[in-house]
C-alpha cells in the first residue's frame, strides 16, 4: 500500500506541474459550459409561417392574429398564391405555410364545415410535428371561440366540452437549461476523464519509463490504481466547478442531495476512467489512444441522451445504450438535480454502472499484464 502512496504523489506532482494541461483541463470545460447551453436550446418556438389569405375577411384576419399571438409562431411572409408560399418554404424562409381558401367565412357559415390547408417543411420531423400539433390546438381553440360568439340560429343543444389543465412538474417554467446543463456537465467530465486516462499509460510507454516501472516489484493493479485516482480527483474538481457555474449562470441547483450526486459520480468515474485505461493498454502511441477515445466519446455523446432522447430509440439501440455508462449517469444527474431522487430511485442505474466499471477495469488490468 505504501507504494500506492508514492505513485499517487508522483502522478499528482506531474499533473500539477503541467500548468498548460491544467489550464486547458479547467478552462475548456468552463467555456463549453458557458457556451453550450446558450446554443443548445432546442425548444420549439419561433416557427416561421407564410400565409396565403385568399379570403381577406375579418374572420381570416382574426384567425391569423390568433396564431401569431400564441407565441409559437411568427409571421415571416404574407403572399398571394400558394405557389409563392411554397417558394418561400423552399428557400427556408418559412417552416410552414397556411392557405386560407377564398370564401372561408362564407362557406363556414353556409356549410358549417371549412378546410384550411397547411403545408409543413418536415425535414426537421419534430419541429414539423409539434408545429402541426400546436396549430391544431390553436384552431380548436379558435373554433370554440367563434362558436361561442356566433349567434347560432336554431341550434340550442349544448355541446359537451372538456377543458384540459396541464401542469409541468419539476420544471414549471420549462427552463431548457435545467435539462441540458447537467447533461453537458456529464459529457465534459466524461471526455476529460476518458482522454486523460487513455493518455496516461501510453505516455509512459512512449517516454520509456514504463520499462523502469515494470522491473520494479510494484503490483499491476496498484499501478493502475495510482494512474486512476489523480484523474478521479481532477474530475471531481471539474465537476464541482461545473456545478458552481451551473448555479451562478443558469441557476441550476440540485434538488436532491449532494451526497447522492457525488457518490454516484465517483462510481461513474470508476467506470469511465477504466474504459480510458483499457484504451491505453491497447494503444502503442498517443495518436492511437486519441483516435480510439475520440471514437467512443463521439458515440457516447450522440447516443447517451444528451440531446436526443434514448426513449425514442428502437429496441436494439436501447440495448446498446444500456451498456454505455454515460447514459446511466446522465439519467442519474437529471433525476437527482431536477427531481431530488434518492439512492433507492437510482439504484438500478448505479448497479449497472458498477458492473460495467468492473468489466472495464478487470479487462484493463488483465490486458496490461499481457502486453508487458
Amino acid at each position: 500500500m505504501r507504494s500506492l502512496f508514492f505513485l499517487l504523489e508522483k502522478e499528482s506532482r506531474q499533473l500539477l506541474r503541467n500548468k498548460q494541461l491544467i489550464r486547458v483541463l479547467i478552462i475548456a470545460p468552463i467555456i463549453q459550459l458557458i457556451l453550450m447551453p446558450l446554443a443548445a436550446n432546442y425548444s420549439v418556438k419561433n416557427i416561421s409561417i407564410a400565409v396565403v389569405d385568399h379570403d381577406r375577411s375579418t374572420l381570416s384576419q382574426r384567425f391569423i392574429s390568433k396564431i401569431t399571438a400564441s407565441g409559437y409562431f411568427k409571421l415571416t411572409a404574407y403572399v398571394n398564391t400558394y405557389s409563392e408560399a411554397l417558394a418561400v418554404l423552399e428557400k427556408d424562409r418559412a417552416d410552414l405555410a397556411i392557405q386560407i381558401p377564398a370564401n372561408f367565412e362564407k362557406n363556414l357559415v353556409r356549410e358549417n364545415v371549412q378546410k384550411i390547408y397547411i403545408a409543413i417543411n418536415a425535414i426537421e420531423g419534430t419541429k414539423a410535428n409539434l408545429g402541426g400539433a400546436y396549430l391544431g390546438s390553436i384552431i380548436t381553440d379558435f373554433n370554440s371561440e367563434i362558436r361561442a360568439a356566433w349567434p347560432l340560429g336554431g341550434v340550442v343543444e349544448p355541446i359537451p366540452q372538456i377543458t384540459i389543465a396541464s401542469s409541468n412538474w419539476y420544471n414549471p417554467l420549462m427552463n431548457y437549461n435545467l435539462y441540458i446543463v447537467p447533461a453537458i456537465l456529464v459529457t465534459l467530465v466524461t471526455a476529460m476523464g476518458m482522454m486523460q486516462s487513455a493518455f496516461s499509460i501510453v505516455r509512459e510507454k512512449e517516454s520509456g519509463t514504463i520499462e523502469q516501472i515494470n522491473v520494479t516489484p510494484i503490483k499491476k493493479h496498484i499501478f493502475i490504481l495510482g494512474k486512476l485516482l489523480p484523474f478521479m480527483v481532477l474530475a471531481l474538481v471539474i465537476f464541482t466547478l461545473g456545478l458552481c457555474i451551473a448555479w451562478l449562470l443558469y441557476h441550476v441547483t440540485p434538488v436532491g442531495s449532494l451526497l447522492v450526486l457525488y457518490a454516484s459520480l465517483i462510481i461513474y468515474l470508476f467506470a469511465v476512467l477504466g474504459l480510458g485505461l483499457l484504451i491505453s493498454t491497447y494503444s502503442a502511441t498517443q495518436q492511437q489512444a486519441m483516435s480510439l477515445s475520440f471514437f467512443f466519446i463521439n458515440i457516447f455523446n450522440m447516443m447517451s441522451g444528451v440531446f436526443n432522447s434514448v426513449d425514442s430509440m428502437p429496441q436494439w439501440a436501447k440495448n446498446i445504450v444500456e451498456t454505455f455508462p454515460p447514459s446511466h449517469f446522465i439519467k442519474i444527474m437529471r433525476m437527482v438535480v431536477l427531481k431530488g431522487s434518492g439512492f433507492s430511485d437510482i439504484s438500478y442505474h448505479l448497479v449497472v454502472i458498477v458492473l460495467i466499471g468492473l468489466v472495464f477495469n478487470t479487462w484493463a488490468v488483465l490486458n496490461y499484464r499481457k502486453t508487458v
Binding site: L35, E90, K115, P158, P160, Q287
Partner: protein, 368 residues
C-alpha cells in the same frame, strides 16, 4: 509531377497501414450514419403515461383507450391515487400522467363542462411540451369526433401536408449534419496530424532540405485526405440511399462540387492548425476541441440557430459547415438548383480561398 504522385502514393500507403486511423476515417462516418439513421430521433414514441381515473366512467375509459391506441403513448398502468405519482415520476420511467377527477362524468353530464388534468415530467421541457401537445390533440380529436357525431356547427378542419419528409423521419435532418460534421473533422484532424507527424519524426527536415517544393509537400499531404473525404462523401450518400431511403433529389454534380469545395475548406483549416502545432497531441487536441464544438453547435443541425442569442448567431456565420449544411439540405433533400444555393457556395469559396492563402503563406519552409 512524378515526384508528387510518388508522395501521394506514400501518403496512401501510410493511411492504409494504420488501423486506428482507418477506424476513425471510415468507421466513424458509417457508425454516425447508422446511429442517426436508425437509432436517433426526437420523435415521441410509446411514451409511458400513467392514468389516475377517479371517475371511471364511459367517457374517461374511451379517452384512455384512444390514448393507448395512439403511437405516441403507452398507458403504463393505472394508479388508484394521485399521491403515488410523485414516487413514480422520481423513478424516471413515466413521463406524464392524466388525472380524471371523481366528478368528471357528473360534470360532463350536468354542466356539459368537465376538466382533465395533464401532468408532465418537465425535467425534459421539450418532451413535456410535446407530450402535453399530443395528449391535448388526442382529447381534442375525441371532442371533434363526438361533436361531428352530433352535427356540430362551424367546424374548421385543418388539412396538413408534410412536405419533403412526409413520414417525419429523423434522418433527413441529420444526414446533412453528419456529412458536414464528419467531413470537417476527418479533414482537419487528419491533415493537421499528418504534417505534424513528419515534424516529430524528423522527416520534415529532410523534405524541406530537398529540392521538392514546399507547395508540393502541402498538395501531397492534402490530396489523400481530399480523395478519402470524397470517398467518404459517396459512402454516406450510398448508405443513406440504401438504408435510409434518402436519395439525392437535386443535381448530384452540384452536390459533389459543393462538397469538394467544403472539403477543401476543411483541409485548409487543418493545414492552418498544423502550422502552430509542434506535437501530434497538440494538433489533435486543437482540431478536436477547436472544430468539434463549433461544428456541432453552430451548424444548425442539432440546435436551431434562430434560437440562439444574437452574438452566437453572428459567430455561426464564420463556421463553414453552417453554409455547407444549408447547401446539402437544399440540393439533396429539396432538389433545388444552383440558383438557390449560389450565395452559400460563394461564401464557402471565399472562405476556402482565404484560409488556403493564409496557411500557404504561413507554412514554414524552415524549422522556426
Amino acid at each position: 509531377m512524378k515526384q508528387l504522385l510518388v508522395f501521394v502514393k506514400k501518403e496512401f500507403i501510410q493511411v492504409f497501414r494504420d488501423r486506428s486511423t482507418l477506424l476513425l476515417l471510415f468507421g466513424l462516418p458509417i457508425a454516425q450514419i447508422v446511429l442517426f439513421g436508425f437509432a436517433l430521433s426526437n420523435e415521441i414514441k410509446d411514451s409511458k403515461v400513467v392514468v389516475v381515473d377517479y371517475s371511471k366512467d364511459e367517457v374517461s375509459s374511451r379517452i384512455i383507450a384512444k390514448i393507448g391506441a395512439s403511437k405516441y403513448f403507452d398507458v403504463e398502468r393505472s394508479l388508484a391515487n394521485a399521491d403515488q405519482l410523485e414516487a413514480a415520476f422520481k423513478k424516471g420511467i413515466i413521463k406524464s400522467a392524466i388525472v380524471f377527477p371523481a366528478s368528471f362524468a357528473d360534470d360532463l353530464l350536468h354542466t356539459n363542462k368537465a376538466s382533465i388534468q395533464i401532468i408532465a415530467d418537465a425535467s425534459d421541457p421539450n418532451l413535456a411540451t410535446a407530450v402535453t401537445a399530443y395528449l391535448t390533440q388526442i382529447i381534442n380529436d375525441y371532442q371533434i369526433q363526438s361533436g361531428r357525431a352530433v352535427g356540430l356547427p362551424l367546424q374548421i378542419i385543418p388539412e396538413i401536408h408534410m412536405l419533403y419528409n412526409p413520414e417525419l423521419k429523423g434522418a433527413p435532418n441529420f444526414v446533412p449534419g453528419v456529412m458536414a460534421l464528419v467531413l470537417m473533422l476527418v479533414c482537419t484532424m487528419m491533415t493537421s496530424v499528418a504534417i505534424v507527424k513528419e515534424k516529430e519524426l524528423g522527416t520534415m527536415e529532410v523534405l524541406l532540405v530537398s529540392p521538392f517544393k514546399p507547395l508540393y509537400i502541402i498538395i501531397a499531404k492534402l490530396t489523400p485526405n481530399l480523395i478519402i473525404s470524397i470517398v467518404n462523401f459517396f459512402i454516406i450518400l450510398l448508405l443513406s440511399s440504401i438504408f435510409l431511403d434518402l436519395h439525392v433529389q437535386g443535381s448530384l454534380l452540384l452536390l459533389t462540387l459543393d462538397s469538394i469545395l467544403f472539403i477543401l475548406t476543411s483541409l485548409s483549416i487543418g493545414l492552418w492548425l498544423s502550422i502552430g502545432a509542434q506535437t501530434q497531441q497538440a494538433a489533435m487536441t486543437s482540431s478536436l476541441m477547436g472544430m468539434m464544438l463549433p461544428t456541432l453547435l453552430l451548424t444548425g443541425f442539432m440546435f436551431p440557430i434562430e434560437n440562439m442569442p444574437l452574438p452566437m448567431q453572428w459567430l455561426s456565420n464564420l463556421v463553414p459547415s453552417r453554409w455547407y449544411f444549408i447547401i446539402v439540405k437544399q440540393v439533396m433533400l429539396k432538389g433545388l438548383g444552383i440558383n438557390y444555393v449560389w450565395k452559400e457556395t460563394l461564401i464557402l469559396l471565399g472562405m476556402c480561398i482565404l484560409l488556403f492563402t493564409i496557411s500557404l503563406r504561413k507554412f514554414k519552409i524552415r524549422l522556426q
